[in-house]
Structure formats: structure tokens, C-alpha cells
Symmetry: C2
Subunit: 192 residues, 2 copies
DNA sequence: GCCGTTGGCTAATGACATTAGCCTTTGCGT
DNA sequence: ACGCAAAGGCTAATGTCATTAGCCAACGGC
């Protein structure tokens, strides 16, 4: 019997793809094994268990998101940077409905790459705040606020929480403009 | 063998309590049956299946949340109302870590009480916006923004997404102040 | 080519959800 | 009181998924 030629990277990547198709909570070892054309227990040669797989997918998704946010922020500042990062954030969540929820998992302290990815994602937010002149403790509060707004919107949207027909993209634009206003008047920040 | 004397209300209420203790995703018919002192299949006399139970718990939690938000908003307007509702929102989520995620489930259209509860919860937000002079389409956008901020913060907090030691309550206060600023400058609103 | 490691497999176990079918209790109408 | 239908328990059986144990072939370095 020929080998399937799997390794952890392939398994985790395919798991991420599967999650995008069936949804994060329905990412299952059984479904993944079927899709990879191996028997279920074979997966245990590449991941410790189902939780560990979820953690690995989380690390992958977090790294991807961090990269896209960083790219969006590059070469921009202030309102420009905010708009670009916000757009990248929502875009990632919409393109990857299964991976996105995975990014909300707290990084496994034992996985340095995961931790770093998380820091890079948050770092993109801090970079924006720097452009608004917000630093120190104020930046901690502001970063929490920005993350809350972005994550809240995107997760409500994904959950189908916005029932009315009013255009969701427009609501997001308004939210980001409001965020811009709020950051300009943030304690410790510099108004435009 | 004497009867346990269950009915749907008791089962759903106990399920909500169990969810608060073990977490929403670990709400399981098996654990619920054990806690109620009956065999697992007995629960099927009171709920159609596990999904239906989850939907019922969602309806209960949504109704509770709506009631607390409405109470908080009563007799207040503007910034006052915003602060009170925001405090009630976070308070509910912290007191009911299992029920809160359930409120994010889209109401079952076939359950009128669930639908009404959802409308009442959103209604509390609209009442606040009214106090800021925001109505019509603008209110739809603003309501989405307010929900995003509140839900985003509260769910990040619950997920342990705020790693730094900085006081979380203070960050929340700042977010609400920022929301106040944003609502005052909202398109269609009336600045203070 | 030999041999240890690696990566597959099957089989067995255990949690949970679900359905079928039985049997007792309950309570209502007479 | 009584009879009886409905309601509310139960056990047993099935299916899915996660996990562990243990087997065996393929691969790679020497």
C-alpha cells in the first residue's frame, strides 16, 4: 500500500481549507481524514489530537491575518492606515469564514510561532494608533477598542446577526469613520 | 420508579445554568441528563434534539438580556442611557458566560418568543440612538456599530483575548466614552 | 541490501446523539 | 372508585466521532 505522503503542514493546511468550507465548529478529524484519503487514526501521526489540530489551524490563520494586516498598514498612516487595515481585516474574515474564528483562540504559549503571529496582528493595530499619537496605557485601551469594533462587526456579520437588508459594507464604512473620530479625540491622542 | 417531574421549562433553565458552568460549547445532553437525574433519552420527551435545546436556551438568554438592557435604559437618555446599557450588557455577559454566546444565535423564525426577544434587545439600542437624534437608515448603521463594539469587547474579554494586565473595566469605560463621541458626530445625529 | 524509523492500517474502547419500543404513573371522565 | 389514554420515564440498539494500541510495509541512510 503506497503512502499518502502527508506531513503536518499539509494536514493543517487542508484542515484550514476544510474549516472554511464547513465552518470552524464542524472541523472534524473524521472529515479531514476522508478528504485526505486516509483512515482517521492515521492523522495522529501528524497531530497530537483534535485540540492540537485546532490550535495549529489557529496559528496558521493568525499568521495569515497578521501578514495581511501588516501589508495593509505598510506605507500608510492615520485615517488611511485605519481604513486599509479595517478593510483587510473584514476581507480576511469574509474570505475565510472557517479560519477567522480560529484566530480568536488564545495562542498556545508553547508554540512560539503562534505567539509571534498574535503579537504581529496586535502590532498592526498599535502601528495605527501610533499614527494617531496614542501611546502607552492609552494605546492599550485604544487597541482593545479597535479590536472590539472590528471583531464585533465581523463576527456579527458572519453569524448572520444583521437581519435588515441595509448594505452591510456601508455600515462597516460608517463604523470605521466613527472609529477614526473616536481615535482623534482619544485621551492622550492628538486631534487632527 | 417515581417520576422526575421535568418539563421543558425546567430542562431549558437547567441547561442554561449548566452552560454557565461548563461553557456554551460543552452544553451536552448527556451532562444535562446527569444533572437532572434522568437517563439521557428521557430528555427527548421535552426537547426535540440537541439543536432545539440550544435554540431554546438561546431564546431564554436573549429574553433575559433584552429585559436587563431595557431596564437599564429606562428613564435615561443620551450618554447616561448609553453608559447604563453598556454596563448592563457587559454585566450580563460576565455573569452568564455560557448563556451570553447563546444570545448570538440567530433567532429561530418559528419561535415567536425568540424573535420578539431579539427585537427587544435591538430595540434597547435603537432607544439609545433616538436620544442622540439618530433615526432611519443612519440608525441601522449606528445600531450595528454599537452592537459591534459591545459584542466585540465582551467576547474578546470572555475569550481571554486581552492579555495585558491593564484593567479591563477601564478599557471598557474608554470604549463607551469613544462610542459616545462617535454617536454625537454620527451622520444624521445631533451633536451635543 | 539491512535496519531502524516513519507513516500507514485495523481493531477496540468510550463519549455522545438519536431512535424504537416498553412500561408505569398520572389524571380525567364516568 | 375505575378504567384508560396520554405522558414521562426507562433500556436497548445504532451511528458518529475521538482516542489508544498494536501491526506491518515503505523509505532512507549506511
Amino acid at each position: 500500500m503506497p503512502r499518502a505522503g502527508l506531513n503536518q503542514q499539509i494536514v493543517v493546511r487542508e484542515a484550514a481549507r476544510l474549516a472554511d468550507e464547513v465552518g470552524w465548529p464542524r472541523l472534524t478529524l473524521a472529515a479531514l481524514a476522508a478528504r485526505l484519503g486516509v483512515a482517521l487514526p492515521s492523522l495522529y501521526k501528524h497531530v497530537r489530537n483534535a485540540d492540537a489540530l485546532a490550535q495549529k489551524v489557529s496559528a496558521l490563520a493568525t499568521a495569515e491575518l497578521a501578514a495581511e494586516l501588516t501589508t495593509a498598514a505598510a506605507g500608510r498612516a492615520g485615517t488611511d492606515a485605519l481604513r486599509a487595515v479595517a478593510a483587510a481585516y473584514r476581507s480576511y474574515a469574509l474570505r475565510h469564514p472557517g479560519r477567522y474564528p480560529a484566530t480568536q483562540q488564545v495562542p498556545d504559549p508553547a508554540d512560539p510561532e503562534h505567539v509571534t503571529a498574535g503579537e504581529r496582528a496586535v502590532g498592526a493595530i498599535y502601528a495605527i494608533l501610533h499614527g494617531y499619537g496614542i501611546t502607552g496605557d492609552d494605546a492599550v485601551d485604544a487597541a482593545r477598542g479597535v479590536r472590539s469594533a472590528l471583531h464585533g462587526f465581523v463576527s456579527l456579520e458572519a453569524a448572520g446577526g444583521f437581519g435588515l437588508p441595509r448594505d452591510v459594507g456601508r455600515s462597516y464604512d460608517h463604523l470605521i469613520e466613527a472609529l477614526d473620530v473616536a481615535l482623534r479625540s482619544w485621551p492622550g491622542g492628538r486631534p487632527s
